[in-house]
Amino acid sequence: MKKPRIGLVNRREMKGYLFLLPWLVGFVCFFAVPLVQSVWYSMHDVKVTANGLKLSWAGWENYRYIFQSDTVFIEQLSGFFADAILRLAVILVFSLVIAMMLNQPIRGKGVFRTLFFLPIIVVSGPVLERLVSEGATTVPLIETYGVNGIIEAVLPPMMARPLSGLFSQLILVLWYCGVPILIYMTGLQKIDGTIYEASMIDGANGWISFWKITLPALRPMILINGVYTLVFLATTGLNEVMATINDRMFRTGEQGGGYGIASAMAWVYAICLGIALLALMLLTKERKARQVAIQKSREQVELERLHAQRARGMKRRGGKRHGR
């Protein structure tokens, strides 16, 4: 009897699952049960009594409380997403620029790469909270020149708040770029250099190469970075929404809180975050075949134009040489 053979694709799939295995084990052992529990808790009034947990059915009451009675949560939630949009844009663009610079053949690029990655070690620890409280993550010049004052005077409060928040925490935001830079760099190094050579032969300059080759090739990396950054911003210890949920876990009675309300808050937050991630995926999604075809035809026209331009140039240079 022949042994069943594993095909190449299946073997690759198995390798993928092997890489996933530690996470899956961790998820099943430590995460799955609390995840389901938190849904259950969100529909109960939960007390952590001296003799264990005491649950009484509350239905949608905790969710109703969040939207109708809680004075801060919804405001903080909307504030977070307004901040996140701005910060996400800054982080994605800044880390792409730095990644491209670090990808150049320069001396000591290993040192530069380490320097740009180092802050991520700092921001993941309690050191960050101390630095923030000491004002180490702000740019003093912004305050000195009254940038925040100008923003608040010119823009409506809804727009001014996140923008001035971004400026006042600019260094912190830039610190978050460590991992995105790494991801972009892996993407950049995967692009075949011959494509750039071919485009240069066809007359494309750096600017055109960036838009026509680099950026489309990095599209999956932009999505990965977008997801990573949004999740990072959403779960960092400095996040007000997380702090409120944590605070509400340990409040009871007239202060309005407990595991029930905190779980409901966590789920509202998770759902909003899920919607934001979905929107991000849709934004960075590969275009449909038709759109791609249109794009290709446009690119073709552009290339033909460049060809013609190059041919004219060569003709002119040839004519001059001939004249000499």
Binding site: K47, V48, T49, A50, G52, L53, T252, Q255
Partner: protein
């Protein structure tokens, strides 16, 4: 028959002895089994506190050799979180301190200790308001552990500068306001008083057993005393008797918009707490050249004084409630605990900032005898005036969160200060809000 009679007699004698023993302590006897109790107090980062805890545990274990005591360390910054985690594991300490008693009751962490409060002879040593004003729904769920009474920081240099004599320690609030008038020289940026906490302090001073907003263990009282307090506050501020300097004034006069005028020697009578004493004994005199002595607060007709109190509870899940009660007493509020705490602090060379919640003369005498000259008036005043200390009600009273939020959101003090509303007009509204807050909170706490 003879044998039977003698056995009956012996039984009778034994039965007669049991109530006698019980009467002696007022409580059931302690267990003779070998047991372990756990206890958690905050403040372990403060100089001297770890040594105090060690000394108190040793003292208790010497008195009850069959009981082993283990100290549970919880990070003070995340105290409630630490307790919740322990509760979820079923490992709450037998005795522990809480920042908010109603929360502990809501979570069913706190044992009803009314029986022990009423029957332990040592509990009679507690200041009466410490027991009456800390009731929730008529029951005691917490005990006062230690207190931080308010003190009056008297700037002797300003008294001398304006030729005003220091008052006797049994002074009254009327004396205080008269002195304030004499000592105020706003044109020189020297003020009679600072930190005008009259809404906190007057209910205790004039009504005896009441905390802030007149909390008496059952309800808040926005009565004449509150009206008088809040109006007096507005009066001393508006008449520049109380230090209320603007940032610009501080910048001009003191060279720093964030300066603290009492710490710059600008207030003759400043209300503060024991933990600020050290600063007024060292840094402030060095910087300003001013000399200070520390007085008790002035007296009112009610003879009460508000003090900030740390509260403890006995776990609802303890297997040894009687022994846990005894441990709580020996670790915090009991006279033996107070004496041991004071002795340990002295041996380490630290001033006593956590003060006893009992009126036991020996305990206060010990403080008077060992007090430094500048603090002696305070301790003598406390000991000799027969004051009733009232606990800070915000960590205890039901409805406090709702009431405080309403009070602050509506800027009641500010509006009265600016003359936008009168205290008498708003008192009724506040009373209604307070009553409703208590009713609602008690309903969720105790299902009443």
């Amino acid at each position: 028959m003879k044998k039977l009679l003698s056995m009956a007699m012996a039984m009778l004698m034994l039965l007669a002895l049991v109530p006698a023993l019980a009467e002696e302590s007022g409580l059931p006897p302690m267990t003779t089994e070998n047991i372990t109790l756990t206890v958690a107090h905050w403040g372990q980062a403060e100089a001297g506190e770890p040594e105090v805890i060690e000394a108190l545990i040793t003292q208790f274990e010497e008195a009850y050799p069959n009981i082993n005591v283990e100290f549970v360390s919880i990070d003070q910054a995340t105290w409630d979180q630490g307790l919740t985690n322990l509760a979820s594991e079923g490992k709450l300490p037998d005795v522990f301190w809480v920042f908010n008693v109603p929360n502990a009751v809501a979570n069913e962490w706190a044992l009803d200790i009314t029986y022990y409060m009423e029957n332990d002879p040592d509990a009679k040593e507690l200041y009466p308001a410490m027991v009456s004003a800390s009731k929730i729904g008529g029951k005691n769920y917490s005990y006062p552990a230690v207190m931080f009474p308010h003190m009056m920081f008297m700037n002797v240099t300003l008294f001398e500068q304006y030729n005003v004599e220091l008052p006797p320690v049994d002074w009254t609030w009327d004396d205080y306001f008269e002195l304030a008038d004499e000592l105020s020289h706003p044109e020189e940026y020297n003020f009679g008083v600072s930190n005008p906490l009259y809404t906190d302090l007057f209910p205790a001073a004039y009504n005896g057993n009441q905390g802030k907003f007149g909390w008496d263990g059952e309800k808040y009282n926005f009565d004449e005393v509150w009206i008088e307090a809040v109006e007096k506050r507005a009066e001393v501020i508006n008449n520049k008797i109380c230090e209320w300097m603007t940032e610009e004034e501080k910048e001009t006069v003191l060279g720093d918009p964030a300066a603290w005028p009492p710490g710059k020697g600008r207030s003759a009578m400043h209300i503060d707490w024991p933990w600020t004493q050290a600063m007024f004994k060292t840094t402030v005199p060095q910087e300003t050249g001013c000399e200070f002595v520390f007085y008790p607060l002035p007296l009112g007709d009610g003879m009460g004084e508000l003090a900030l109190v740390d509260n403890g509870v006995i776990s609802a899940s303890t297997a040894y409630p009687r022994e846990a009660w005894e441990l709580a007493k020996w670790m915090s509020w009991g006279p033996m605990a107070a004496l041991k705490r004071q002795e340990t602090y002295r041996s380490l060379g630290y001033p006593v900032s956590r003060m006893p919640v009992v009126s036991t003369p020996e305990v206060w005498q010990d403080l008077v005898e060992n007090a430094e000259e500048d603090t002696k008036p305070f301790f003598e005043g406390v000991m000799n005036r027969g004051v009733n200390f009232v606990p800070s009600n915000w960590p205890i009273a039901p409805g406090w969160g709702t009431l405080e939020t309403y009070y602050n959101t509506n800027d009641i003090d500010g509006k009265i200060l600016r003359g936008e509303i009168s205290a008498a007009d708003v008192a009724g509204e506040l009373q209604a809000v307070a009553d409703q807050a208590v009713t609602d909170h008690l309903a969720t706490l105790l299902g009443e």
